[in-house]
Amino acid sequence: MSAPVIDSKAAERKQPAAPAPRARATFPVHFAHYKWLYLLLLPGVVYFAVFRYGPMYGVSIAFKDYVPFLGVNGSPWVGFQQFRDFFSDPDFGRLLGNTLILAFLNLGIAFPLTIVLALLLNEVRLSILKRTVQTLVYIPHFLSWTIVASLSFLLFALDFGPLFLFINSVLGTHIDFLSDPAWFRPLIVLQDIWKNTGWGTIIFLAALSTVDQDQYEAAIIDGAGRFRRVWHITLPGIRSTIIVMLILAIGQMLNTGFEQIYLMTNALNRSVADVFDTYVYFVGITQGAYSYSTAVGLFKSLVGLVLIFGTNALAKRFNQSGLF
C-alpha cells in the first residue's frame, strides 16, 4: 500500500459533537457497564502490548551488549558503544551511499515515469483500451518479490535467458547481469518500474479526473493544442497531488524494501547491494551480532521517523493551504 497521510483524527472531526456528557460515572461503574466491549478489546490490546510494544522494549539492547542466555534485561549496558562502532565502521558510508543512490534512482526515474504513464492513460478516449492497459499494468503489483526475482533470474539467466541474449547481442558483450555489480542498480530499478509503475498511476488518475473540464473547452476555443493543454491545465491541476506524493516518497526513502534487495543480493554484488535493512539481517540473524544490528536498525528507524513526520507535516501544509 502507499504511504498514508497519518491523520486518524480526521474521521472524528467530521462527526457531530457527542451528546453533552452526563454526570461522569466512576471507572468501576463505567467498566462494569461496558465489560463486553472491554473484553472484545482485550485480544487486540494484548497483541499490541506483546508484538508491537514488546519489540520496542527490546530495542534497549541497542544500548547493551546482548548475551542470549542473560536475556534483554540481564545483559550489561554499554551506552552508545554500538552506535560509535557503527558510525566509525567503513560499512556505514557504504550502506548510506547504497541506500541513498537506490532511493534517488527511484525518485528520479520510477516516480516521473508513473506520472507520464498516468498522463498518457488520461489522454486515451477509447475506454476499452484504457481499461485493458490498466488491467494489465496493475497485475505485477500483486505478485511477491520472490516471483519478481524468480522471473528476473530466468529472463537474465546466463547463456539462455531471453533478456541476457537480447541485451548482450545489442551491446556485443557477454555480461552476466545477475552477478555484475554494475548491473545491480539498473536491475532493481527495472524491477521497481515493472512492479509498481502501473499501480502508482491510480492516485494520479484519480487526481486527473478532478481537473475542471470547462478549462479544456475554454483552452480549445483559444486554440491551445494537445501539449499546451496538458502543460497549462492538466499538470497544474494535479500539481498538489504530485508534490504530496513526492514528499511522501521522500519520507519513505530509507525503506528500500528488504525482500527485493535481499533476493537480488549475492556473493558477487554485496558491495553495491547492501542497504540498511539487509545489513541488519546479515549481521544480526546470520552472524548473531544482535546488539550491533539492533543499533543499526534503530538508527535507520529514527532517521526514517524524522523523515516521515517532517514530510507528513509538509504534505499537509501543501495539501491544505495550496501554496502553489
Binding site: 497521510v5 472484545l40 527490546g58 492497459v133 535481499y262 540473524i285
Partner: protein
C-alpha cells in the same frame, strides 16, 4: 464532450495508443514466456531464446513438481497458513475496531494513540526476532501469523467505517434488548461484508506473498512455505552465498523453475479481478481524503 481533433492530435492519439498497447504487452511478456516454458521440454528452453508457444507440449515439469513431496508440503502449508492467518487477522482486527469505534469508551483515546504510534515506529527486525524466539515460536507456523496479526492502518480504517454507520441502527437494536456483542455480530458485520471482504483479500495476498517472515522464523527447511521453496528452486546456487539455503541442494532443470513460478502466481491471477476492483478503491480510501 466532443472535441474537434486536429491532425497533430490524431497522430498523437495513434502513437499514444500504440505505445500503451506495447506497455501492456511488455508487462505481460514475462508471464507468457514462463507459462509457455512450463509446458516445454528442457532442450527447447535452452535452445530457443524466447517463445510464447512450446513446439512440443509436455506436462513433464508439472508431473515432476507434483510428485515432489517437498513441493506439495510447501504448497499445502502455504494454503493453510494463508487461510488461518487471514481468519485470525480479520477476527482480531474487527474485535478491536468495534470497541474503539465507541466514542464514549474510556481509555479509547490512549489506545488509539498507541496504535498510531505503532504505525510509524516499530522495534525493528532484530528485537522482533528475539521476541519470537523467546516466545518459543521459531519454526512454528504461528510465527508467520502472530507478529503481524493486526495491521494498525486497516484497524483505523475499519474503526472509522464502524463509526460512520448510522447510530440509529444500534440504538433501535439496543431497545430490542440486543447486547453489544449481538449488535456487532448481527447488525454491523452483515453491513460490513464488502469492507471485510476487501481486507480479507488484502491479508490473504500479504500472507501468500510473505517471504521475510518465513526467512526469519523458519530455519527448518521441511517447514518452508511456497515462497521459500520458490526461491531455493529459482536462484542459481553459485550466486546465492547469502545463507539459509540447504547446502546439499542440487538445482533442478529449468522447466521445473518455470512450473513452480506458474503455481505460485496462479492463485493471485485467479483472484486478480477481485483484487483490482477492491484494492484500487482501498488505495484511494487510504491515501486521498476527500
Amino acid at each position: 464532450m466532443k472535441i474537434h481533433n486536429t491532425t497533430g492530435g490524431k497522430v498523437f492519439d495513434a502513437a499514444n495508443y500504440l505505445f500503451l498497447t506495447l506497455v501492456g504487452i511488455i508487462t505481460l511478456l514475462p508471464f507468457i514466456y514462463v507459462f509457455a516454458g512450463s509446458f516445454a521440454n528442457e532442450a527447447e528452453i535452452t535452445r530457443r531464446a524466447f517463445f510464447v508457444w512450446p513446439e512440443q507440449f509436455t506436462l513433464g515439469s508439472y508431473e515432476y513438481i507434483f510428485s515432489t513431496p517437498a513441493f506439495i508440503k510447501a504448497l499445502v502449508t502455504t494454503v493453510v497458513v494463508t487461510v488461518v492467518g487471514t481468519v485470525v487477522q480479520l477476527i482480531l482486527t474487527v474485535t478491536m475496531a468495534y470497541p474503539l469505534a465507541k466514542r464514549n469508551l474510556r481509555g479509547r483515546r490512549l489506545i488509539l494513540s498507541l496504535v498510531v504510534f505503532a504505525m510509524v515506529f516499530s522495534g525493528g527486525m532484530i528485537p522482533t526476532f528475539l521476541l519470537v524466539k523467546d516466545l518459543g515460536l521459531l519454526n512454528s507456523y504461528w510465527a508467520l501469523i502472530l507478529p503481524a496479526a493486526i495491521n494498525p492502518f486497516s484497524l483505523i480504517i475499519i474503526k472509522n467505517f464502524f463509526q460512520e454507520l448510522p447510530a440509529e441502527l444500534e440504538e433501535s437494536a439496543k431497545m430490542d434488548g440486543a447486547t453489544e456483542v449481538g449488535i456487532l455480530w448481527r447488525i454491523l458485520l452483515p453491513l460490513s461484508k464488502p469492507v471485510l471482504a476487501t481486507f480479507a483479500l488484502f491479508y490473504a495476498v500479504g500472507i501468500w506473498n510473505d517471504f521475510m517472515s518465513p526467512l526469519l522464523y523458519l530455519s527448518d527447511n521441511s517447514k518452508w512455505t511456497l515462497q521459500m521453496y520458490l526461491r531455493q528452486v529459482t536462484a542459481s546456487s553459485d550466486l546465492l552465498g547469502t545463507g539459509n539455503v540447504d547446502p546439499n541442494y542440487i538445482p533442478p532443470e529449468q522447466g521445473i523453475k518455470f512450473a513452480v513460478i506458474v503455481v505460485a502466481t496462479l492463485p493471485i491471477l485467479i483472484f486478480y479481478p477481485f483484487l483490482q476492483k477492491h484494492f484500487a478503491k482501498g488505495m484511494l480510501i487510504g491515501s486521498v481524503k476527500g
